[in-house]
């Protein structure tokens, strides 16, 4: 990792220092993300303890039948047509039309379900069927939890090695934690089930969200100048980064038509919104406060 030993030239005049003391970087603004984080934690805590966590078939166990349809499907009508199978029907738009997801318990006879679906007027000739035993599902879930905790610890280590300063690193890790918690809570709230795919997206979000935090921390700590000015400049770069990632994900979300892709894209998109909040309010506020209280303002 290269060390930054850029020879400072002329330090910029910090006469406008006071003028920057607006809402940006203020600790008062941090109430908003703090409330969001608490709400998310409370929601997740409630969902976990009450068993209301939404799990997809690969983590819960069950059978999922995927069929495509040219026109927009009426999910409620499908559910009532095959009500005896205790289904849960969702649909997603794809390039070629619509994709319908039918979730049923593992013990359901798929042959019977498929004929019921074709009797209801849906083409099941090209159906995809996925069955996961409940035991395997819960073992996946358990391994996923281990992977999440390990990923978080590894990320924190990587951040500490990069900056070697406990407090700023702590802020980066805190803001990444807030991103993941909030993205997970909101995706659960709007009905995106936790699956191996959304789970991988949460892990990837660790990497994505830390990008902007590293940018902010590096710019503020490793440059000469007023921290607020530096942070504001960094925010411009950071928002471009978030924007470019968001448009790429939007393309994926709109066009892919596969549940894996759509789930990954939507969780990352939600995460990016929170990343913007957490980086440019939480992390910025904490970092500026730390720099100023340490008297590090140059």
């Amino acid at each position: 990792m290269p060390d930054i030993t850029g020879q400072p030239g002329q330090p910029p005049a910090s006469k406008q220092h006071e003028a920057h003391k607006g809402l940006f970087g203020s600790r008062r603004l941090m109430i908003l993300p703090a409330v969001l984080l608490l709400l998310s934690l409370a929601y997740l805590g409630w969902a976990f303890t009450s068993g209301n966590i939404l799990l997809d078939v690969d983590l819960r166990g069950g059978t999922q039948v995927v069929i495509s349809s040219a026109g927009e499907p009426n999910t409620a009508a499908i559910e009532s047509a095959i009500a005896s199978y205790h289904p849960n029907v969702r649909s997603a738009r794809s390039l070629q039309g619509w994709t319908i997801y039918v979730d049923v318990p593992t013990e359901v006879n798929t042959t019977g379900l498929l004929s019921a679906l074709s009797a209801a007027g849906y083409n099941t000739e090209h159906a995809s069927i996925q069955t996961v035993g409940p035991a395997l599902g819960s073992s996946f879930l358990q391994q996923a939890e281990i992977a999440l905790v390990a990923a978080f610890i590894f990320m924190a280590i990587a951040v500490f090695i990069t900056f070697r300063m406990p407090a700023p690193c702590g802020y980066v890790v805190l803001s990444a934690f807030a991103d993941i918690t909030e993205a997970f809570a909101v995706s659960q709230f709007i009905g995106i089930p936790l699956s191996l795919a959304t789970f991988a997206a949460l892990l990837l979000l660790i990497g994505y969200s830390v990008d902007t935090d590293i940018l902010l921390t590096a710019r503020v700590l490793k440059s000469e100048g007023d921290p607020r000015t530096l942070a504001k400049r960094a925010m411009k770069t950071g928002l471009t980064m978030i924007g470019s990632t968001a448009v790429a994900l939007l393309a994926l979300f709109v066009l892919s038509g596969s549940s894996v892709m759509t789930q990954i894209a939507s969780v990352l998109l939600i995460g990016l919104v929170f990343d913007a909040l957490n980086t440019w309010i939480t992390n910025t506020g904490l970092l500026i406060w730390w720099v100023e209280s340490k008297g590090l303002v140059k």
């Binding site: 996925q130 590894f154 990069t162 990497g207 990008d211 440059s223």
Partner: protein, 560 residues
Amino acid sequence: MKIPALLRDWRVLLLLVMVVTSLILIIPTPSKGVIVRSVAADSPLAGKLAVGDRLEWMNEKTINNPDDVYTFDTFTGTLRFIRNGQLELADVQKPGLGISVAAAPSGRLSFGLDLIGGTRVLLKPTANVSSEVIDQTIATLQTRINIYGLRESKFQPVTDLSGNRYVQIEMAGGTPQEVEDLLAKQGTFTAKIPRTLHLVNGTGTLFNASISSTGSALFVDGKVYAINSSFKLAGMDWEVANVTSDSAVVIPTVYTGADVKSVCLTEQPGVCTSSIQRTTGGWEFQFQITTSQEAADNFATATRGLQAVVDPKTGSSYLESRIIFYIDNKPVTDLSISGDLAGRALASPVINGFRTDREDALKEKLRLQSILQSGALPVPLEIERIDSISATLGSGFIYSSALAGLLAIIAVGALIFIRYRRWRVALPVMATSISEVIIILGVVALIGYTLDLAAIAGIIATVGTSVDSQVMLVDELLSGAQIYTLRQRIKRAFFMIFGSAATVIAAMLPLAIIGIGVMRGFAIVTMLGVFIGIGITRPAFARVAEKIIEKENERAPINT
């Protein structure tokens, strides 16, 4: 912008070489013919074609795709075909070639099941077993699948974090029902011939043993046996099925799976029978098996002394008892035994069955043949997971993800253009992202990794991190011009790029190590992409961006 000067930079050169090599690896080259994926045991081409052969020509028709072969499904007569460059002949007596083919692979990229369609099954032994037992299980399953004719299949032992062992099978075809019937059945085979003993005053004999009834249990040579218990006599296990004061039903097991020496898979006139015929209301199939001498002797013993009955309608004579074949203790067929077989050793019994539909009859016949030929699994298996992906749905995914990826890069380019108002900045960003995708695909093709949906998601994730890094670099180059030199700014940018790459790798590492399902591929490809990014594409982009910004700043400073 001095192109030659840039081209002389080793970073840019390395990128170009990698892109060109990757393109050579992934661009499909047109190829002739189709590849044989399976040959059913009763195919008229069985023995003349093998899995993996290339079919190039059939009866004056050049074969370019699988549909060209399937037009011969109704063909009967002499079929001439070119297999691996050689002309062969086959006599097709009834419609149906009984083979499946696939388009010849035209590039080095191999696509996963979720993109080309197929079935993936995860089977778990019901008990803790050693890896030897897993290997034995795989061998048995392979025999079954080959006989059944499921298209090209891949077997893989899998162990999870907690040490549980599984068998994973990927096949190009097969429905969940077929998998359940063929692979998840242990396949313990038995054949039994029930026998009713008539007792006088509650006593009788069975061979040289004296039998007496208590009305609810049976005494055999002085030992008492309740209903459902069994005793050994004349080298066989006899189950007590029913006992009354004047009769008893006992069921000897004449054959077990170990007694099956061979199964007739293809009809060979004068040697063995394996056929299917139309009968009233449906289709009847039959095939012969060859048993060991002991089993044949068991048959003789078990049928000795059985009465022959004459069917008043047909005039044929049958024994009073029927022979019942079981797989996993479930009866599969029961057959009447010809009257003249009583007391005679039978070493090649014929198993038959009936289905109303020809296709079902063929499949059931193949299923029984596969299970009998492969023998029982060393351990019962249960299905933990089945993914059955339709080929059309899958190929739609390839198309839409390619389109989504391309549009994602264009959208990023547009955003960068809006931000900096310079195509000279936006175009290299797009070019870098595209070359990163090409190099990842090239590496994937080179190491023979299978590209599945999760891997594609990983590639798109990489494009996201790659664009992030490029924005960091461009912004760093454009900012604070008066403080640092260009080189220092690149160094500063790379500090952040390395930092963020390290966190992505750190976050993906656990997922890549823990073998949870398909998401392992996602993590591996994302990490691969990050390494390619920091090692090849980003350094090259930095050189290009440095030159462009130098040049652009001379013309008119870029407003940030």
